[in-house]
Symmetry: C2
Subunit: 229 residues, 2 copies
DNA sequence: AAGTGGTCTAGACCACGAC
DNA sequence: TCGTGGTCTAGACCACTTA
């Protein structure tokens, strides 16, 4: 059996985890490792590159590869579509549109989306339920310049999230997580009390350099967002 | 100039973003693309593999590569050390130990850490300030079986986080984000009112299959955790 | 100046899985 | 069955960065 990059990676990881290669240690260069493992340099390169991508080691030309003293601990979150999130738990998904208006972009949002004063945006407010229990409150603003079809879109049956995913192929985004105290209005929708702590995510989505949408997702009381890394 | 995998990747991304390759589209196979771009198949492979890693496309042997209908939107968070987080904002970092005890593992934690009843754990409570303002409250339990040195460790000058990072080289973890209402005790420490909504992360860290530590980090009111993707 | 990683190439073999 | 991606190889050139 030939030595694969996964073999090399696993062995290096093991040596790091066992403390044989302590944080700060300078690792052998690719050529030496290739010889030691009996494989090509490209194989070692792939293994070490992945370790670097994962923040375990740090690579510099000429300086070599070192085990990171303080590994960059990074978590990867997949941002699910709420329908799938609910249905994957075996719950019944329900959706309702609360409000849909065309309005001048509010000042606080103008900066975020880099829009001109007086420009119009579509604001959509809706709710998502799991087994009839409030799950998530969604408040969204959409820039109709990029997605003109939003002016015709009817969000009474399906949420704007799924609609946008189908309409806009690919985008980059900025996302924030925070805790908020429920307003009376939010509390009414979420079936909790005003002032209760709720978990919220805010996301601004861009296509190239122009903002498409800003969304505020507020989850029911006690919601946790979890991941492994 | 030769064609690099970044060139290929950027061009493919562009075609996807422009809708030339719409979601669901079957992309040409690696050999054809290599010929079209005038490069080796390995170059195309690297470009497409990275697109797959980022959740933009989906690859299956024999079936080929498709643009994902619903791209896996995933965010990468780097989990910073509090001290660095604060100092990188140009603020002055301050730390204080609140409590340090050796106690029987509480029932609710036993399951999380997979410990035996009656086993002892070290509990550390401490605070982190930025410019003298409460920034983060830390409550941590450490398994002394894995890190016996914790029994001798004195956390009066430095937080257990940095200490653990130096002691335990590498680990995997599960992390959760949530919103909580401040208890009176928390409120006293954080300089807010009981009931205020606070952002909290909880993290369980493992070395191989054994739990090292469970930590509960509660941030000051209004804190946001932000990332781009 | 010189060593290290970054990448490309051309060819090869193989495993998966759709047909 | 057989096309597609997954990976390895051996060699090469280059860019960065530090000594």
């Amino acid at each position: 059996m030939t030595v694969t990059f996964k073999d090399v990676k696993a062995d290096l990881l093991d040596k790091i985890a066992q403390g044989i290669m302590a944080p700060g240690t300078l690792m052998p260069n690719e050529m030496d490792l290739a010889e030691r493992y009996g494989c090509a340099r490209a194989t070692v390169n792939r293994a070490m590159r992945e370790l670097a991508d994962e923040g375990i080691v740090e690579r510099k030309r000429k300086a070599g590869t070192r085990v990171r003293k303080a590994p960059i601990r990074q978590a990867r979150f997949s941002i699910p579509i709420v329908r799938e999130e609910i249905e994957s738990k075996g719950s019944e998904y329900r959706y309702a549109l609360i409000d849909r208006t065309l309005q001048d972009v509010p000042d606080w949002l103008r900066g975020r989306l880099a829009l001109k004063p007086g420009q119009e945006v579509v604001r959509v407010v809706c709710m998502h339920w799991a087994d009839g229990i409030p799950y998530q409150h969604e408040e969204r603003w959409i820039n109709p310049e990029i997605v003109p079809a939003v002016l015709e879109a009817d969000f009474s049956a399906n949420g704007p999230n799924e609609w946008l995913l189908a309409e806009v192929p690919f985008s980059n985004a900025e996302i924030s997580f925070m805790a908020v105290e429920a307003t009376q209005d939010l509390a009414d929708h979420m079936g909790c009390f005003a002032g209760n702590a709720l978990f919220r995510t805010e996301r601004t989505t861009w296509l190239k350099e122009t903002a498409i949408t800003f969304v505020r997702l507020t989850y029911r009381r006690g919601h946790r967002m979890t991941t492994r890394y």
